[in-house]
C-alpha cells in the first residue's frame, strides 16, 4: 500500500536543489578565497611556530604550561603522563603529524571561540535570535560530519582549510549552547543588582554575566575542542594532514598496528589538551579554597 503510494508520487529533487545551491555559492569564490587565505594564514602561523620548536623545548613548554595552570594543586602524575606520552609520539615517528593535528585543533578552536561566544551571548540576549539559531545548531550538530566535506571541498579546495571549516561547523554548537546557558543561568537578582546600580549593558556583560558564566562557558570550549579532535580522521579524507591521515592511511593498508599507534597518539594529545583547558577553568576562587 505504502509502496503504491510512493511509486505514484514524483521524487522531490532535494539533492538537485542542494547541488544547485552549492553551485550558486561557488560564484562567490572571491569571498571563499578570502576565507581560505585567512584561515590558511592562521594554520601556517601555528605550523611555522611548531616547526620552529625543537622537540625538547615543545615538551618543556607543555609541562611548564601544565605546571602553571595547576599551580595550586600539583599534579605530578599528569605531568609524568604528558612527558611519557609525548616521548612515545616522538618515538613512533608521529611528531610532525602530531603538530599538524595540533595546528588543526588550535585553529578550529580559536575560530569556534571567536564566533561561538558572541553568538551564544546574542542568543541569551535576544529571544528571536534564540529561536532562529536553535534549529540551525541542532542541524549542524546532528548532520553526519562526513557530509560537510563535500561542499567544503567545492568551496575551499582540499587541504587543512576545508578540514578546519568542517571541524568548526561540527564543534561550534556546544560552544554557542554553553555560552547561552551560562549567561541565562546567572541568577536574576544579580542581574537586578547590576542594573540597579546603573550598569550599562556592556558593563553588566563584562563584570557580571561573563565572569559568572565562565565555568559553563569554558566547559563548552573544552567540549568544542574535543569535538575538533574527533574530526581529525574525517578531515584527513580531504587532505588535512596529521595523525588523522596516518589513521586513514592505515585503514587503506589494512594495518591495524600503525592505525592504533596513530590513534593512541591522538588519545594522548586529547588528554593533554583536555586537562590543560580544564585547569584554566578553575576560578581563582577554587584556587583559594
Amino acid at each position: 500500500m505504502f509502496n503504491l503510494m510512493t511509486m505514484n508520487m514524483p521524487t522531490i529533487p532535494l539533492a538537485k536543489w542542494i547541488n544547485a545551491f552549492v553551485n550558486w555559492l561557488t560564484q562567490f569564490n572571491g569571498f571563499f578565497n578570502a576565507i581560505t587565505n585567512f584561515i590558511g594564514a592562521i594554520v601556517n602561523a601555528f605550523q611555522w611556530f611548531f616547526d620552529l620548536l625543537p622537540v625538547w623545548l615543545f615538551i618543556v613548554l607543555v609541562l611548564g604550561l601544565t605546571y602553571w595552570a595547576l599551580r595550586k594543586s600539583k599534579h605530578w602524575g599528569l605531568m609524568a603522563f604528558e612527558l611519557i606520552g609525548m616521548l612515545l609520539i616522538y618515538n613512533q615517528g608521529y611528531w610532525r603529524d602530531m603538530t599538524q593535528t595540533l595546528t588543526l585543533v588550535l585553529t578550529s578552536s580559536l575560530i569556534i571561540v571567536v564566533i561561538g561566544i558572541p553568538l551564544g551571548i546574542w542568543m541569551a540576549k535576544s529571544h528571536t535570535v534564540n529561536l532562529i539559531l536553535k534549529p540551525i545548531l541542532d542541524f549542524m550538530q546532528t548532520m553526519p560530519a562526513f557530509v560537510y566535506l563535500i561542499p567544503a571541498v567545492a568551496l575551499f579546495g582540499i587541504g587543512m582549510v576545508p578540514g578546519v571549516i568542517a571541524s568548526v561547523i561540527f564543534a561550534l554548537p556546544p560552544v554557542v549552547r554553553m555560552t547561552n546557558l551560562g549567561i541565562k543561568q546567572v541568577p536574576e537578582d544579580l542581574i537586578e543588582a547590576s542594573d540597579s546600580f546603573g550598569s550599562t549593558d556592556w558593563q553588566k556583560l563584562i563584570k557580571v554575566q561573563l565572569p559568572l558564566a565562565k565555568t559553563t562557558l569554558m566547559s563548552g570550549v573544552n567540549q568544542g575542542m574535543m569535538l575538533t579532535l574527533s574530526m581529525v580522521v574525517i578531515a584527513s579524507m580531504i587532505g588535512a594532514m596529521g595523525l588523522g591521515s596516518q589513521v586513514y592511511f592505515a585503514v587503506g593498508r589494512n594495518d591495524a598496528g600503525s592505525g592504533f599507534a596513530a590513534g593512541i597518539s591522538i588519545v594522548i594529545l586529547a588528554i593533554i589538551l583536555d586537562r590543560i583547558t580544564q585547569a584554566f577553568n578553575k576560578s581563582k576562587r577554587d584556587n583559594i579554597k
Binding site: 541568577p187 544579580l190 543588582a193 540597579s196 546600580f197 546603573g198 565572569p211 565562565k214 576562587r285 583559594i288
Partner: protein
C-alpha cells in the same frame, strides 16, 4: 518635612494585552474581570502615595500584594504600565536609558532580599561595584567601599568572598554596597526577611542607628508587621495590588481602616508600639500661681478626685497635692500650697513605649505624669487607659 517622592496613579499590568487591560482598569473594571477578558494580571493598581525626605517609609503586604513590583518600578527595574513617579519633582518614568542610569547611580540604591552579592567578587569589590561602574578609580573607590563597610560594622572581611560570610554579614555587605554610592534614597526589598530573628532585630537596630546620622530616605518593603512598626516612620499597607492604608504606625494600630488591616494588626504587641502620648489622658491640673487651697478643694470635689496635679502659669509641672493636705492647709489658714506639693511623682516622656514603663506603673500608687523635655505637663497615665489602648480601644479623654 518636604516631599521626596511623589507617586501618582502608578500601575503595573503583567501580560500581553496590557494596553487593553489599562483601558479596562481606567473604566473601573475589577482585577478578576480584567484577568478573564485579557489574561493580564494587575500587579499594582493606581498607587498614589508620597514619601518624605529622610523618613523610613515601609511598604507592607503579604506575598502577591504587589509590594516588590511597586518598589522595582521606583528604579524602573520593572517598567510601569501607567502613572508617574516624581523624584524631587522630576518624572522618572520619562527618562531615557542614559538619564535613568544616572539616577540609579547617584540617587537610588537597592538592597535585596537574598543579598544579591556577586559570588566572584571579594567583599570589597562587591561594595565598590556601584562606584566601579561609574568609572571611579580603583584607589578612591576601594577607600570609599572600605569606609562603607566600617560604617555597617564589618571589619577585616574586605578580602573574603560572600559565601564565607554568614547571612547577617552578607546583608551588611549589601547595605554597605548600597551606601557606598552615597545615594539619597535606599530601596530595601525585604532586606532582612532572609535573616534569622535575632540577626533581623540586630539589623533593624543597625539601620535605625545608621539612619539617625545618615538621614537617607528609605523605602523598606516588609511582610513582617512587627518589623514595619519597629522601623517605619510611616507604613503603607498593600493588598492585591491596592493600597489599603497609609499612616504612622500608631495611627494604623489605633484606627485600622478596614477589617483586613484589623486582622493584620491583631497579633501585634501594642505595648511596644503605643507610646505614652497615646494613652495619656487630660489631667486635672491646678495652677500654683492662681489657685488657692479652697478653690483647689472645690475643683477636686466637683471632679470627684482626691488629688490634683500642680502646674505653674507656663504649664510647668510642679507635683501633686492631695485633698487631706489641702484640708490641713485650710485649717491652718495658709494660702501657699508649695509646702504640701509632693514632688516624687513618677514622670515619663511622651515618646516612651508603654512596654518600657508597664512594670513601674502597675505597682505605682499614683498615675504617671507625662512631661515633655521642657518639663511641661502634657497629660497623665492611669492604668485603665493603658488597658483600653492595649485592647485596641480608643482611649477616653485622650489629650
Amino acid at each position: 518635612m518636604s516631599t521626596k517622592i511623589n507617586v501618582n496613579n502608578l500601575t503595573k499590568i503583567f501580560g500581553r494585552h496590557a494596553g487593553r487591560a489599562k483601558e479596562m482598569l481606567r473604566d473601573g473594571k475589577s482585577k478578576a474581570e480584567i484577568l478573564e477578558k485579557t489574561g493580564s494580571t494587575v500587579g499594582v493598581n493606581k498607587a498614589n502615595f508620597t514619601v518624605n525626605d529622610n523618613e523610613i517609609f515601609v511598604i507592607m503586604g503579604l506575598s502577591g500584594s504587589g509590594k516588590s513590583t511597586l518598589i522595582r518600578m521606583l528604579n524602573r527595574l520593572i517598567e510601569p504600565t501607567d502613572g508617574e513617579i516624581l523624584l524631587d519633582g522630576k518624572n522618572i518614568t520619562d527618562l531615557d536609558k542614559k538619564e535613568l542610569r544616572e539616577i540609579r547611580r547617584k540617587k537610588l540604591s537597592m538592597v535585596f532580599q537574598n543579598f544579591a552579592l556577586f559570588p566572584n567578587r571579594t567583599i570589597l569589590e562587591n561594595t565598590a561595584y556601584g562606584l566601579e561602574i561609574q568609572g571611579v578609580d580603583k584607589q578612591s573607590r576601594e577607600e570609599k567601599a572600605h569606609e562603607s563597610l566600617e560604617l555597617v560594622g564589618l571589619h577585616g572581611y574586605d578580602n573574603r568572598f560572600p559565601d564565607q560570610l554568614s547571612g547577617g554579614m552578607q546583608q551588611r555587605v549589601g547595605l554597605a554596597r548600597a551606601l557606598a554610592n552615597d545615594p539619597e534614597i535606599l530601596l530595601m526589598d525585604e532586606a532582612f526577611s532572609a535573616l534569622d530573628p535575632l540577626n533581623r532585630k540586630e539589623m533593624q537596630d543597625e539601620l535605625l542607628d545608621l539612619q539617625a546620622h545618615l538621614h537617607k530616605t528609605i523605602i523598606f518593603i516588609s511582610h513582617d508587621l512587627n518589623e514595619a512598626l519597629r522601623i517605619g516612620d510611616r507604613i503603607m499597607i498593600m493588598r492585591d495590588g491596592n493600597i489599603v492604608q497609609t499612616g504612622k504606625p500608631e495611627d494604623i494600630l489605633q484606627n485600622p481602616k478596614n477589617e483586613y488591616v484589623e486582622k493584620f494588626i491583631e497579633d501585634v504587641d501594642r505595648t511596644k508600639i503605643l507610646t505614652a502620648s497615646r494613652v495619656m489622658i487630660r489631667p486635672n491640673a491646678v495652677n500654683i500661681e492662681k489657685d488657692g487651697p479652697r478653690s483647689i478643694l472645690r475643683q477636686m470635689r466637683s471632679n470627684e478626685i482626691s488629688s490634683a496635679y500642680v502646674v505653674d502659669s507656663n504649664h510647668n509641672f510642679k507635683g501633686l497635692v492631695d485633698a487631706d493636705n489641702i484640708n490641713k492647709l485650710i485649717e491652718k489658714g495658709e494660702r501657699d500650697i508649695t509646702s504640701v506639693i509632693k514632688t516624687d511623682v513618677p514622670t515619663i516622656h511622651p515618646d516612651t513605649p508603654i512596654n518600657d514603663f508597664l512594670n513601674q506603673i502597675s505597682t505605682s500608687p499614683v498615675p504617671f505624669a507625662v512631661v515633655d523635655k521642657d518639663n511641661r505637663l502634657l497629660g497623665i497615665i492611669i492604668r485603665s487607659s493603658i488597658l483600653e489602648a492595649i485592647s485596641g480601644n480608643e482611649v477616653q479623654n485622650n489629650v
